[in-house]
Symmetry: C2
Subunit: 430 residues, 2 copies
């Protein structure tokens, strides 16, 4: 099954808004084995919408449209679709009630222009938008009625489907997850799909591919592997296609067991895990407490840890020791250490981590000190140099890294690496 | 002048990568009065590229293409363009030398496949890509040779231009800024354009629009205003079009003086300023020092301050007092205050800010304490409640806010607000 995505809206064409809707939709469709062959951003213009509809209906099985459904007169998607399908607008009572409730609850007048939100083409199927006011409309078209007589590249066994959704990201996502994706899955028939994402760190994409080449080559044809690289991390996505969902889940689980034999040191989680969440679970399970002592990352690690709901159970807090004075005053780094080795050194990082345990009473501490740039480098200490120290009650480990990149990316890479280093210490005897 | 953007690449169609190239390009083109009428994402397929070229050349004056220029065989943009324009590939010596240098510097072999990067269609103009290996190619086409005989919606006084660039964002941006945008500006002829962005905070888009309505209505026809809203901030962009750049700059400057009379309290900067940069400049100019005491923001404010290069000159560091224990131990918040008023209270925020000055020796301190959710709310203290205290050597101010949003957005909104609150204190007697 192939799909086109059409995003309607001038705010996308003037670059005011990044089109995150398209990538989110494409990823969700791709996961379900629906191939997106085109993404088009067009204006709120009747001609543009009609031209694009002609084209998409001639090339794809499913056309997903976002945007242009607001109540103001520059939003014309609904009217254009109604004319395109030779239909007339009628009131959809559940949408009318929903929109009325929406305005009543806010104490706002339910004006005529807002009542028009409840008008829909008579022949479409309406999906109630419970998180907004614009309804989602599904048009199903028998092959025979296409305006373009010679569809190409399409699967002729199914009807064509056009689905119009609001452009507000959370409304679109709610409608996709609750109704549109299940509807498309139904169209795909009895096919079952199982996905599992394996999260790895500390190994680049090409080295990872080399390391798991034999395992990858031995994957059965109905299980596909995708590499999804990000800064310092690679996600591996296994997608299994077949008839029997339970059987597929079993097969994927077995493949992951095999994969773990090869790269267990590089796997830190699955699916929606983040390194902060994974660390939080381990520390919390041990009834232990965590603290941070950050220089070059300036608070980013603390922020990443506290993005996890419930992190107050195991994160005591930390010290942003950006100046040498605070390294001494709040973390007890010795003046001689700073004089002799400098702020960016293994010795300082270790004293920061130990001092952090002392100052906060935590069981584990993360310390960072480095040169994020653009200035501060010397002959011996290059731009991007960073020391990460991890301390527990029993030991301290310190690693040296050089990340040559922009200032902001340096902070991000260092923070990720520091959390991975803590993860390694936490799991090394498990 | 109208433009189409074509982004080629399967990674965009499977949703692995968000298309930030398109929005960046669209914004830059729009600033120069070039109207983007279509953005299309297509696969690395010869048919798809040709079909889209036909369409874009019939509808737009300029076609900007990114992607598909890598050395591997799945990258076919160059070959397709060469065939499309009935041309043959020849070696471009400056590109050859550039690519060779690139591989030599890294000690990598300069293989045949990499040498092919220096082959270009003979009739195109080549722009040397000094930050990568794939060259930028400019094709200029007289109207007469279009494959589509009836161009519509276009300005027939200019030739058509097709420009192919690599998809790597920093390479594309470098080429756009250094060559492609100047080239397009030249095409536009004598037209001068001046832009100025005014950064405001603390007032919503509709209230701002009301407040400046008279000023906006009185703008001359050749000066346009755009509202660019973001979380808690609105950017206003003035664009002036005419013949004489110096005169336009003068006119825009005068408009900004008038605008300042109306909303000076809400303006914190211009163009590429950020609130962290603006604060940094003020604090640095006073030879003063800044510190932070963060609870609910978990280090985010420190991170935002240290994203600014040179921030070590005025940012001493801070304390992430996530637990009550650290609020007492490191910031000297009194146990009784926490007992009587709770951690999320005006009293605690004020003691945190004062204690932060004490603990760090700074001249200004920012303190935050709030309920980011999803749990932790009570009858009296709703989800999203936050207290922000700002202390100088002379005074402390504390504000109460309620931001009802997700955990991460709550941290972001609070951090922005805290920096704005400090800005207000720093500038109130200026």
């Amino acid at each position: 099954m192939t799909a086109h995505i059409i995003n309607i809206g001038d705010e996308l064409l003037i670059g005011q808004v990044v089109n995150t809707n398209a990538s989110w939709m494409a990823e969700e469709l791709n996961k379900r084995n629906i191939k997106v062959t085109n993404i088009s951003v067009i204006s709120d213009g009747a001609d543009d919408i009609r031209t694009q509809l002609d084209r998409s209906l001639s090339e794809a099985d499913v056309v997903l449209i976002t945007g242009g459904l607001g109540p103001t007169k520059d939003d014309i998607t609904k009217t254009v679709l109604c004319n395109y399908f030779d239909d007339t607008l009628v009131r959809h009572q559940p949408t009318y009630d929903n929109v009325k409730k929406f305005f009543d609850r806010r104490g706002l007048p339910f004006t005529e222009i807002n009542q028009a939100q409840a008008l829909v083409p008579s022949k479409c199927k309406v999906i109630l938008n419970e998180v907004g006011t614009a309804p989602c409309m599904v048009f199903t078209i028998p092959q025979a009625t296409f305006k373009q007589p010679s569809p190409k590249k399409t699967d002729t066994s199914v009807e064509k489907i056009v689905i119009s959704m609001p452009g507000v990201p959370f409304e679109m996502k709610w409608l996709m997850q609750n109704s549109v994706l299940p509807l498309l899955e139904e169209q795909l028939g009895s096919q079952a799909i199982v996905h599992k994402t394996i999260l790895t760190f500390g190994i680049g994409e090409s080295f990872l591919a080399d390391k798991i080449a034999d395992w990858e080559d031995a994957l059965p044809a109905h299980i596909k592997l995708a590499y999804l690289p990000e800064a310092g991390k690679v996600r591996l996505r296994l997608s299994a296609y077949g008839e029997d969902k339970a059987k597929l889940e079993q097969e994927v689980a077995e493949q992951i067991v095999e994969l773990n034999v090869i790269i267990s040191d590089n796997i830190y989680g699955y699916d929606d895990d983040t390194i902060s969440k994974v660390i939080g679970k381990i520390v919390n399970r041990r009834c232990a407490l965590l603290a941070t002592a950050e220089s070059c990352t300036g608070g980013l690690i603390g922020n990443m840890i506290t993005e996890v709901p419930g992190s107050s159970a195991y994160y005591k807090g930390g010290i942003i020791a950006y100046s040498n004075e605070l390294k001494e005053r709040l973390l007890g780094v010795r003046h001689e250490t700073l004089e002799q080795y400098g702020a960016v050194s293994e010795e300082t990082a270790i004293e920061m981590a130990k001092g952090c345990l002392e100052a906060t009473g935590a069981d584990y501490a993360i310390a960072t000190t480095g040169i994020s740039g653009p200035t501060g480098a010397t002959e011996e200490k290059p731009l991007g140099l960073v020391y990460v120290a991890i301390a527990s009650r029993d030991e301290v480990v310190c690693n040296r890294y050089v990340f040559t990149t922009t200032r902001q990316q340096h902070q991000q890479r260092t923070a990720n690496q520091a959390l991975f280093d803590l993860y390694k210490l936490l799991t090394k005897n498990c």
